[in-house]
Symmetry: C2
Subunit: 647 residues, 2 copies
């Protein structure tokens, strides 16, 4: 019951929120954060409300006044822009607007020509009350009016003095602090723009060499940078670059035996030379790595490292921290299993160890170690098999030192688990894109991904392929299939990636599986990076369009439009007056034509107006009119249009 006499306001149903505010909204600098709520009090008296917000590190709260946009539904709205990387705090504060209420009620009496002498006296008393909490800079004006009121003769003159807009403005912006009711403090995580907008190129450094059977090095990667940058990529992502274990080392094609020259699988991390904070010597030295980081910067590229909590049987942890691993009853340390499968070259760390706190701290140390070496993007391998609580802790710890660090969650598992990882801190996430090929499933999945609540916490990084996934669609579809998937990946999301070789439309599958034969995971490979049949030109064009048109850089502006042919996907992205429309033939084998329906109203076009659509891939221009127009897409030529609307 304490001091509740002035607390009359309820603030309900704040939106958007992630899990009712348990997790932060995700944004990037320059983004708008809408704040919508139902705010009301008992009785008929007026209220006012503000959104208060600040970058978490700061003390000073900025505030923006909320508008009641639907009084019948008590709907209040405001919003603000985030600028700084890191966390923001925000909350809603609402107050009783006593002066506004008085003014409204007294105004009615004045209008009805009833006696309001006593009301004027009440108004003056009320204003004097406000003086006790008004900030110094507002007092002079109010005192001045009080003085004038003192001297004024007649209630109508007083009414005119007291109902002046400036006084109202001052008082309605400084309501009684005792009536303040505030919402819970809510959070926003602001990541740098690259969290939302980037094109990733994944490659094994050892596959960047030029001599068959000889490991490529960081220096060889530097030689490839002009070519990778020319394709328009922003992020260069390496699978683990640490020393590879020798015991139980895997041979080519995941063979259980290997010859002396086999380089092993980089995911079997650690040998006598060191573990997660060491570099595999055949790739180069820390100096070479630093040189590579610097070279990348020159080409507008940024290194992303894999973070795989796997230990080879030779990892120093096994000797230094045997208690970090599960043991068998006979005291030996257990390798990884997914019964009845065995993974004898990998020892998983046991996060349920009683010494788990030192595991958490060591993982933090590894992240910070590489962050200090200039790595600010980590692709985390299988985070869904480690504790949720660990991730939420370690991500916040790392980002509190390096707010620009991006964490990509490589979890391909059940939707709730993938979403949970995103909510509790991962900046970006892999997705089911790799297995969505048909119109309905693409539409449904991307409508879910790019609208709230999901778009407020999940940034899907679309991979066309990975070292582990050679999708059936690509296996059978030849070059057209690669083109189709490139266009979809580059335009459905703002962040996407390819794994080396995709640009060459290469790959031989392990029969009956979505896996690569002779995978780079188990052997050293070399390639002709300009092999005939490659689609590097298309990829370059797609990345150029993405960079040139800001509409392509927003994640949540994707909209699907109607295409009458079920094999043609038609969608668009708009920002202000910039409208792009993409039409993709989803069938790599057959030419499909379709009537497509342009959302004229959205684009500000009249029903019979002519307009030009400019295919940015082919530079061809077409004159269209009205909503219904015709496209024909031959997958052997170009399976997609990326149209810019020109009025």
């Amino acid at each position: 019951m304490s001091n509740r006499n002035r607390k009359r306001i309820l603030i309900e149903n704040i939106r958007p929120l992630v899990d009712n505010g348990l997790y932060p909204l995700k944004r990037e600098p320059g983004d708008w954060v809408p704040v919508i709520a139902d705010i009301f009090r008992d009785g008929h008296q007026k209220i006012c409300a503000w959104v208060e917000y600040k970058s978490s590190g700061k003390k000073h709260w900025s505030k923006v006044k909320m508008d009641c946009t639907n009084p019948g539904l008590d709907l209040w709205e405001a919003g603000f822009q985030v600028e700084q990387i890191g966390f923001y705090d925000y909350r809603i504060a609402s107050y009783c607007d006593d002066f506004g209420t008085w003014l409204l009620d007294t105004g009615k009496k004045v209008e009805a020509d009833t006696d309001f002498a006593s009301d004027i006296l009440e108004g003056i008393a009320l204003i004097k009350n406000y003086l006790s909490w008004l900030p110094e800079y507002e007092r002079a004006h109010v005192k001045n009016i009080l003085k004038k009121l003192d001297k004024a003769t007649g209630d109508m003159q007083r009414w005119q003095l007291i109902s002046c807009p400036k006084l109202l403005h001052i008082l309605e912006n400084h309501p009684d602090p005792a009536s303040r009711v505030e919402s819970d403090k809510l959070k926003i995580r602001v990541d740098r723009v690259k969290a939302r907008f980037a094109a990733w190129y994944e490659c094994f450094p050892r596959s960047c060499g030029f001599e068959p059977g000889v490991s490529g090095t960081f220096k060889d990667v530097i030689k490839r940078l002009p070519e990778i940058a020319a394709m328009g990529f922003d992020v260069l992502y390496f699978p683990p670059i640490h020393p590879v274990g020798f015991s139980k080392r895997k041979g080519p094609n995941n063979s259980l035996t290997c010859s002396e020259n086999d380089p092993g699988c980089p995911y079997s991390i650690g040998n006598e030379l060191g573990g997660h904070d060491e570099i595999e010597p055949s790739l180069g030295t820390f100096e070479d790595f630093a040189e590579l980081v610097a070279a990348c910067e020159k080409f507008g590229l940024e290194i992303a490292l894999d973070f795989a909590i796997n230990c080879s049987p030779d990892h120093p942890y096994l000797k230094e921290h045997p208690d970090w691993f599960s043991k068998r009853p006979d005291g030996t340390i257990k390798f990884a299993e997914n019964p009845p499968k065995k993974y004898e070259d990998i020892y998983p760390i046991n996060f349920e160890s009683s010494d788990y706190k030192s595991i958490w701290k060591e993982m933090r140390r590894i992240f910070l170690f590489w962050a200090k070496k200039g790595v600010r993007i980590f692709r985390v391998d299988n985070p869904h098999t480690k504790p949720f609580a660990f991730w939420s802790w370690v991500i916040e710890e790392v980002q509190s030192k390096y707010p620009d660090v991006i964490f990509l969650s490589e979890a391909f598992t059940r939707p709730k688990v993938m979403k949970a990882l995103a909510k509790l801190g991962f900046t970006q996430s892999y997705s089911y894109f790799t297995w969505r090929n048909e119109k309905q499933e693409l539409t449904e999945y991307f409508e879910e991904l790019t609208t709230p609540p999901e778009s407020d916490f999940y940034r899907a990084n679309l991979f066309t392929n990975t070292p582990d996934i050679f999708p059936t669609f690509l296996q059978g579809g030849g070059q057209p299939a690669y083109k189709i998937r490139a266009v979809l990946a580059a335009t459905l999301s703002t962040v996407y990636g390819i794994f080396q070789g995709f640009e060459l439309c290469e790959g031989i599958p392990v029969p009956g599986k979505e896996e690569y034969l002779n995978s780079d995971k188990y052997e050293i490979r070399t390639r002709d990076w300009n092999a005939p049949g490659n689609i590097k030109e298309l990829i370059s064009k797609l990345n150029k369009i993405r960079k040139e048109y800001p509409a392509m850089q927003e994640y949540d502006n994707l909209e699907f439009y109607q295409a009458e042919n079920n094999k043609v996907l038609f969608y668009g992205k708009s920002l202000g007056d910039q409208h792009l429309m993409i039409a993709v033939n989803l069938d790599p084998f057959v030419t499909h034509s379709s009537f497509v329906h342009v959302p004229l109203e959205k684009f500000g076009l009249g029903p019979a107006q002519e307009y030009q659509v400019h295919d940015l891939l082919t530079d061809r221009r077409y004159l269209w009119r009205g909503s219904k127009n015709y496209v024909e897409l031959n997958p052997k030529v170009e399976p997609a249009h990326v149209f810019l609307l020109r009025k």
Copy 2:
């Protein structure tokens, strides 16, 4: 980081909840509470979960195991029945199922015929671990199996011993307490069944007399009880029965002047005889009141009192607690105003008084005073003009002493405010029913009211009319309009009411207003309670049907079915095998016929099956077949069918 190594589970999106668990769900004894949530952990290991629940006063938690009903979506479900009036607590607790995981993994190895000797040893160690937390009564069996395992020869024999269903049953029901993760504690408010199912009759006791101009008394009310009970009502609700103020007393038709014999408005409460804890002498004494309460009980009726926080200028509070009221600058106490309107016979209590705590306590005293006199239902007048925090406090205070007290919120204001009052404690609420007459608005409104989230906290008590509201629909529609509204009120919700005179289809409006001329609020009236043209028989039948058919006693089982004529509303209520269908002609002037579509599948009927529909109002029976059937409703005869389906 403390002790988080075994906490691997997330519990998300528990439903149904009211405002994410901020407010309790509402239920009545015998009701089912479904508990649905997304529950999952990292990794592939198994988990298990329980709903734990208890009546708030009790210490012991009951528990019911949750089922994973959709593993791909990590959906878990359970539910429980509430029995006791008052609050219930419940929560979800989930654990790692270590033995279940071990059994699954080892089973795969056994099946794959790989070596599992070490796994058996692990299993035995795991079982020994369980012994440390297993309850005494389960230990014997487990120890016995351990002994047998000790003696067993060969891993297959051990496997058979260890994989026996009884052991699994014991261990999966007693998982590792260290792995327990629990949800927030959630609440349910269980009110007695009358909160959901009751028919209210509102009357002014002073209008229950027999001699014009002479106030009716409680003794006169007793004389009316057989008739009111015969109509099937359960609750007899009186506007305020307290002494009526003399100063500024209103005359007939809300006139500002009154003659000596005018009884005044009962909402202007208090005079020198007393206030809210006193009885207006012209109605009788406390002894008479006690006699009335006892007489009501015999007739299956229960008294509901009005709780109106209004004071007449003569209320003792004005002298005893002048600081409870707002004052003008000249020191006089302010009467109620809604500028420019003045209500000089009513002084509102100022809940923003610095002495508000004593106001809250006094209001509690008044409620408890009447509760002690046998009143367990309060209809609260205009609760939306008093603080939300006060209501949530006083309702919980009163119900903690008298858990069976029902509070009806008489707030006709904006939807968010009406809903907020229901969420924070009011048992029932008035609704917009009084102004919903057309098919679309009735359908939309009642679909909202009777489905979650609203049906979980809002029980709409439908009034056909009130002393303040004489709906336009009734004013113009004659007896058919009264019948239509009676059927709708009695069948759309489980709790409804009429204000005296409705059964007589009486009423003269104040021209152009939805108000009664010569309202009982301002004068003493007498009526012929059996005046010709009354619809008491219809009301009796409706109340009889409601009592006879349990399907009519559920609030959230309302479903609207298709009627092809827009003037015919067709809906139904089902419970188990009991199906009632109601067809109402919404037009009081014209006979309407319509094809109506029976939901055959819901009723378990074949597409060409014959079935009987038995009109419980007329006792006529019709043979119907298939979904599409014909009704014709002449409002001058009977504007509605209430069909019981007979197969």
